[in-house]
């Protein structure tokens, strides 16, 4: 089923739906551990230098080659990874599209203190901001991905929540 906007939002336009599909394809590629598909979905050519990626809790990575390397590392470390993507919102203006969504993640990593545990699995929730650029051939490619964990406590007692 094609991605749908949150129930309180207007239905997607054809343009928003195309972006939402690119967003979905990206998560599917990571879930599948398909580095070729991930490479094909990240910005390339003259805009390759603008690639920017923040994995949860990590410093930002800049530039296409470093960003792709970071995804290779993420995918190589996990034998199981599944995303349940929710609250997909898409704003399109000209050649840029901004997607925000919630990533519900299930992995086979050992559970952390913040995780919701299932036998043999660990789950977590992250907020994501994904910015796409429309290429001359019409493809929407990612140039900025920012994902960060949501603390079950709300994080209200950390100085990091100052902002």
């Amino acid at each position: 089923m094609a991605p749908q906007p949150p129930v309180d939002e207007e239905p997607f336009t054809a343009e928003q739906a195309a972006v939402a599909l690119a967003n979905e394809a990206f998560y599917q590629a990571v879930e599948d551990g398909d580095l070729d598909a991930v490479r094909a979905l990240w910005i390339d050519g003259e805009h390759a230098d603008t690639a920017h990626c923040v994995h949860p809790g990590q410093p930002a990575v800049h530039g296409r080659s470093k960003v792709l390397m970071s995804w290779a590392v993420v995918m190589s470390r996990l034998s199981y990874l599944q995303f349940f993507i929710m609250d997909v919102r898409v704003v399109v203006s000209g050649e840029i599209a901004v997607v925000t969504c919630v990533e519900n993640v299930l992995t086979d990593l050992p559970a952390s203190a913040d995780a919701v545990d299932l036998p043999g699995f660990a789950g977590g929730r992250a907020e994501a901001t994904n910015v796409f650029r429309r290429m001359a051939d019409g493809r929407w490619l990612l140039f900025a991905h920012h994902s960060s964990p949501v603390f079950p406590s709300g994080g209200g007692d950390s100085p990091d929540s100052a902002d």
Copy 2:
């Protein structure tokens, strides 16, 4: 001094510099606890519904009024807040500008386990993605802010780092 790009980047164009100034003004407004200034820098009018904000560790907040309320809460909880903004990168395309930067934050909150402590203060580092839209009158207004803590450990043992 006006914001500068990282040393390994090209100098800002006039357009990028204007966005970097809007980004700086936003952090200054929060630092000053100036809610009127914060209100004036967030998207308004026909685009007000697209306002989207992720504070570190928190679930996303949507829509201008809820986003402004979240900033009022942040500012009311802190008697001291200072940002040292680094690694400012600006991509402009049409009416949209994407700013990524590092927020080094100093507050008077009690230190957390992740914080770098000074006597009476707590510090933290966050990665930020700020998306601006150019209004008809030329002002650049924020419509998406995403800030998330960088874990000193690198966060490599958490399922949230799966993505």
